[in-house]
């Protein structure tokens, strides 16, 4: 832990924020484990003293151990889970929030920053070697990667297109998905209700307060607004998707084409 603290300090002084953030997360993890180990030791000594204690660990210790056992899935799987639930392209911040609300394990947002690039590299090295890729959403006009959005390669192309109305449509789609997930889960965690409230607050007539909010009403209100935008949006999306399928090669269909090539010429001009 001392070494980690030193590393954090060095990274901060060196100005490498992303690295520092990762290191701090590791440090927190290490401290967490240290606390658990101490708690376990204390439990053991207590159970040794108490001769009729049968259970190896108290319920409290079991609860504390649960978080440690949870990080088994790789980051891309966790992101895939969250995106599948949402059913629409989403920004890393939302993905992390959804993951925190509905799935076990912690997703560190800084690890999502390089994800799309890694996936692209993997695809270009061995196309279609994986069952799915986490790829870009494409802008409707230029078919270039939309900034800061992640999508899943197995989705139909038009779902990955971002037209002018799509950010709102995707927002409402995600709100409906979260509301439905909350209805299914029956007794939701506070984090999940908070997530839904963040959606509901910005949808007309969805809910008046977090306490009185009902997932069913939120979904109904979101569907009502969605119906207004749906037709115009899907017209944009289908047209752009058709263009993308005919104009772009496989890699560009997943990760977008850019005007980046013209950039050096522009900046030198």
């Amino acid at each position: 832990m001392d070494k980690l603290r030193g590393d954090v300090r060095h990274a901060m002084i060196g100005g490498d924020r992303v690295r520092a953030k990762e290191l701090r997360a590791e440090l927190r993890d290490a401290e967490h484990r240290w606390d658990e180990a101490l708690a376990e030791l204390a439990d053991k000594s207590q159970s040794a003293a108490d001769s009729d204690a049968q259970a190896p660990a108290t319920p409290v210790a079991a609860l504390r151990l649960a978080p440690r056992a949870r990080v088994l899935l790789p980051v891309r799987e966790q992101v895939h889970q969250a995106l599948t639930l949402l059913g629409a392209p989403a920004a890393p911040r939302l993905i992390v929030a959804v993951h925190e609300a509905f799935y076990a394990g912690r997703l560190v947002s800084s690890r999502l920053t390089s994800l799309r690039r890694d996936e692209e590299r993997s695809f270009r090295a061995a196309p279609y070697a994986r069952p799915y890729y986490l790829c870009a959403a494409l802008t409707a006009d230029l078919l270039s990667p939309a900034r800061g959005l992640l999508a899943v390669s197995t989705w139909p192309m038009d779902r990955r297109i971002i037209g002018p109305l799509s950010p709102r449509v995707d927002y409402l789609t995600a709100a409906i998905a979260v509301a439905e997930q909350l209805q299914r889960s029956g007794d939701p965690e506070p984090a999940a209700r908070r997530l839904l409230w963040r959606f509901a607050a910005n949808i007309p007539r969805a809910a008046s307060s977090m306490r009185s909010m009902s997932p069913h009403e939120v979904a109904t209100a979101a569907r009502a607004e969605l119906a207004v935008h749906k037709e115009a949006d899907s017209a944009h999306r289908t047209a752009a998707a058709r263009r993308a399928r005919t104009q772009l090669d496989d890699a560009a269909q997943l990760f977008g084409s850019g005007l980046a090539l013209s950039r050096p010429a522009d900046t030198s001009a």
Partner: protein, 375 residues
């Protein structure tokens, strides 16, 4: 005009010209009487560099923390296709439900070059303004252009919202909080004048496309965090007054020739940097050249001008250094020493100082009475 350009280039010397941004254009209005600042801004002088070469370096600019906080709040307001902003606009501007179209002009297909972004902004705004139907409502980080002193300046408002009543609204997102309906007056004033710069630039662009000034609203939407939360709230602010002030200042910058003509022809603010960026001009020579151009120092300069410490040092001992109110009250009395002598009666003063002298003597009498009473 070419003569003037050459002259201004000579004043700037062998240093790359500094580009204006919304903050610096807004700062032009804060001290309109200052010839030094007017000349330096017109010539694009790097004031920060000049101040440090003259030995009065100012740590200038926004704090990293303030920038970080501002960006985080802006990202929050714009998350999910501007979800929070849409709610506010629906409440304050009665934006209709179908108007949710969102265009991000931060980059054009991965290209962040200013010319490309400007061209795209222009095309999208033209389409939105011409179309009868809904062809664009929210434009995120559009790039606008304004002519300042004959040079184009690129400006980037936070957002422009377009409404059915055929009007564009500039939306400015700021991270200072509005507590119980009240915000810090100075910060609001700064935000308003900055937004006025954007309104002016947007009007310029639309006038180019053949639309009248009324296609851009006189009101701007200011979005700030409410109370002690991160919850955004919005207010409509009238910027008509700031617009006229700005237009006057910009027109004055165009007429900079009359100011330049008064200066000695050999004058230059060139610090003569070598290839390592070290100045090679004697400091005394540089200072005497800078002093040739008259400044109008006020303590408010400390918040908005890089030359502030230089001018403050120069203004030491004058009544202006005590603030604008003191300077205005004392009129013709320029030095603090003179004011003190007028007050204790050792100096009678000229005719134009008579009024100030009477006031100073009254103040001195009151002060001595108070002090005697206390003793």
């Amino acid at each position: 005009m070419n003569d003037l350009e050459a002259r201004l280039d000579r004043i700037r010397g062998n240093v790359a010209p500094r580009n204006h941004n919304a903050r610096t254009v807004a700062a032009l209005t804060s001290n309109p009487g200052c010839a030094r600042r007017a000349i330096m801004d017109a010539a694009g002088v790097d004031k920060q560099l000049l101040a440090s070469c003259a030995g009065f370096a100012a740590q200038f600019g926004q704090s990293q923390f303030a920038i970080g906080r501002g960006n985080a709040f802006e990202a929050q307001v714009k998350a999910g296709g501007c979800a929070e902003l849409l709610r506010l606009l629906r409440e304050h501007l009665q934006l209709s439900i179908p108007e949710v179209s969102y265009d991000n002009l931060d980059e054009v297909g991965g290209n962040t070059c200013r010319e490309v972004r400007y061209a795209r902004t222009r095309a999208l705004l033209a389409r939105a303004a011409r179309s009868d139907q809904d062809a664009g409502t929210l434009f995120d980080h559009p790039l606008l252009r304004l002519q300042v002193g004959g040079r184009p300046v690129y400006l980037e408002p936070d957002l422009i919202a377009f409404q059915l009543r055929n009007r564009f609204y500039v939306v400015e997102i700021k991270s200072f909080s509005v507590i119980d309906g009240l915000a810090d007056g100075e910060k609001v004033a700064a935000a308003v004048i900055q937004s006025a710069v954007y309104v002016l630039a947007l009007r310029d662009l639309l006038a180019d496309l053949g639309f009248g000034a009324d296609s851009v609203a006189d009101n701007v939407v200011l979005v700030c965090p409410e109370n002690f939360s991160n919850q955004p709230t919005a207010a409509l602010l009238d910027v008509r007054k700031q617009l006229t002030v700005l237009q006057r200042q910009l027109a004055r910058l165009e007429r900079i020739g009359s100011l330049v003509d008064l200066l000695p022809p050999a004058l230059t603010f060139d610090p003569r940097l070598d290839e390592y960026g070290l100045p090679h001009r004697p400091v005394s020579e540089l200072i005497s050249d800078v002093r040739t151009v008259q400044a109008r120092y006020a303590p408010q300069c400390l918040a908005s001008c890089e030359m502030c410490f230089f001018c403050r040092d120069e203004a030491r001992g004058t009544t202006a250094a005590l603030g604008r109110e003191v300077r205005d009250e004392l009129g013709a009395v320029e030095l603090v020493q003179v004011a003190l002598r007028l007050a204790d009666g050792t100096l009678t003063g000229a005719d134009d100082q008579a009024e100030a002298a009477a006031m100073l003597r009254a103040a001195a009498r009151l002060r001595s009475e108070c002090l005697d009473g206390a003793a």
